[in-house]
Symmetry: C2
């Protein structure tokens, strides 16, 4: 039972008194096997504790049962819930999930490319909008792939994301509805589509409310807590303060609140702040952050479903799936302070 060497299909065949072909069929295409035989095989499998040797199977089939997920940083608070969605969907279709993270290091990216080339993954889920593999990727044979959050640069790869423009609209509309007019947007200057789209949502909302360029302030950070804090400092230097900050993501918003707190201001009494993403900490900031929720588990589920479709059909049903982000109202937004009214 707990032998030193694992049972093979031959062991099962011997005990069930059939050929190995029949065992294989009993497992994968049971309808092609007589009931009585299937029973014998199942018993033999139970006795031996047989599990298919995945290496041999993948070798024979020419493809593995693993999906590679590459993210720039798996510590990203956005990541883990998406992964849950990805994994559940994959597992329920007999696939396993392999996680890689590049830390934005091209060298690491290359290692994953080699990994893919050695046929160890049947498909690829890419978190970065940019293929992390440098230009080699252009010529390389990539397996069926799906992007998460944004399209992959060389096109042809479908992706699943969130409607960032709509999400940003929900944030800006809330601020405007509360009575804010002079609203700063603290952005992320890295070239990610999601960030640009959030900015577009901001502009569109301001447009719709008829708020002119003179009341708009746009600051570019890099999406970190520190860059949020810095944005606030800049504004105090320039002495052109808005009554509200709409931030490109929660990290930035946290930084903004820290910066405001350090200067002795109270959120939301003195300034309102919104984030984007609804990372787990957003509940625990003080005040709790009003933000836009990404349906993370759902994103993962859809991305994997799309990939599995690709793996079986070869053709993507859709090339873009945008999910609806929701406004989560907590305590970082209120009407502007009297100074503004």
């Amino acid at each position: 039972m707990s032998n030193s060497t694992p049972a093979t299909i031959e062991d099962v065949a011997r005990i069930a008194e059939v050929s190995i072909a029949t065992v294989s069929r009993a497992i994968h295409t049971p309808e092609k096997v007589a009931n009585s035989t299937r029973l014998k095989v199942n018993q033999a499998i139970a006795i031996t504790g047989y599990t298919t040797n995945a290496m041999a199977r993948s070798l024979r089939l020419g493809r593995s049962n693993m999906i590679l997920v590459v993210a720039p940083d798996i510590g990203d608070p956005n990541f883990s819930n998406i992964l849950v969605g990805l994994e559940n969907e994959a597992r329920s279709h007999g696939y396993g999930v392999l996680i890689g993270h590049t830390q934005n290091d091209p060298q690491r990216g290359l290692e994953y490319l080699k990994f893919l080339n050695s046929n160890q993954a049947a498909g690829l889920i890419l978190f970065t909008g940019i293929l992390p593999f440098g230009h080699q990727a252009m010529t390389a044979r990539l397996p069926p792939s799906v992007g998460v959050f944004e399209p992959v640069f060389n096109g042809g790869i479908p992706y699943v994301g969130v409607d960032d423009i709509e999400g940003a609209r929900k944030a800006i509309d809330l601020l405007i509805a509360e009575g804010h007019r002079k609203i700063a947007f603290v952005g992320d200057s890295r070239t990610r589509l999601a960030h640009r789209r959030r900015r577009m949502g901001y502009e569109a909302g301001m447009d719709a409310a008829g708020i002119g360029a003179d009341l708009r302030i746009v600051l570019e950070g890099d999406g970190t807590i520190e860059s949020g804090r810095l944005a606030v400092e800049q504004l105090f230097m320039r002495d052109t303060l808005p009554s509200a900050f709409m931030c490109v993501n929660d990290q930035t918003a946290i930084g903004v609140m820290i910066g405001l707190g350090a200067r002795g201001y109270d959120v939301p009494r003195d300034f309102s702040v919104t984030g984007f993403d609804d990372v787990p900490q957003a509940v625990f900031t003080s005040p709790a952050l009003t933000t836009i929720r990404q349906p993370r588990t759902l994103i993962g589920k859809h991305a994997m479903a799309l990939l599995l479709e690709l793996l079986s059909d070869g053709q993507p049903a859709e090339t873009e799936i945008l999910l609806r982000p929701d406004l989560v109202v907590r305590n970082s937004v209120s009407a502007p302070s009297r100074a503004w009214r």
Copy 2:
């Protein structure tokens, strides 16, 4: 070059005008191949873009080049840095890392057991102290394994962790040095050795300072932010307040600070708080949390090194590696307020 089907060792052999055996040797044992031949082979490899088919190699060798890492929750802020250490070490020895998370679901654990049984991983890194596989694991053939943070229940598996007792001592000693006497320990009642050891450190520190049982308060939570908040509430109910809270981990400490803040108290003026782990957020709480740092990347590095040793030697050099945790002083600790002096 970017053909539809990847190059095999035979393609290389044909172009280099040698046998496939020579190609294999040129790759894995170059010293056994004549210089001129090696050159030809390398050129052929460059031309074809050949990469070893990992499935075939693993099948032939009887072991894969992947290490499975199983954690209860990869979203745990402690996890990602350890993973960096694990990955770097593995990669530099030609191994890849596969990540699994069980979410404490026995069903998931079983899936990973099946995965291991199908020979898809050469080794196992286990984050939970308890084998997540239920009792089947007792009889199952597990590959060489290493635990992280604490020993695996059925013994015989070496592990890498941190000296929790020493770490806890550093926290409690700091509080005592600041002048605190009545110090509450907010623990985690789940049966993890690390938690028990932190409590032991607390008791040892109180003993060493000659502080009697009447000044000790021990509360059991479950390591979450919410349980920290609840602990504070309980204390206010009972009306037996300490001047400082030593928390079993950072999450709990954050909860304690939130609870204290909600009641209008200031940390560290009214109460001091310490955490354990130094999770990334600890810098951004207000006040920034004084805590005990786990050398996470190092833990990962050591754990993987130990596993690789196991894989080659078969014998563990050591069965327990405990790293030294460091005190990180930030702003959540000060001398007790006047009421206590």
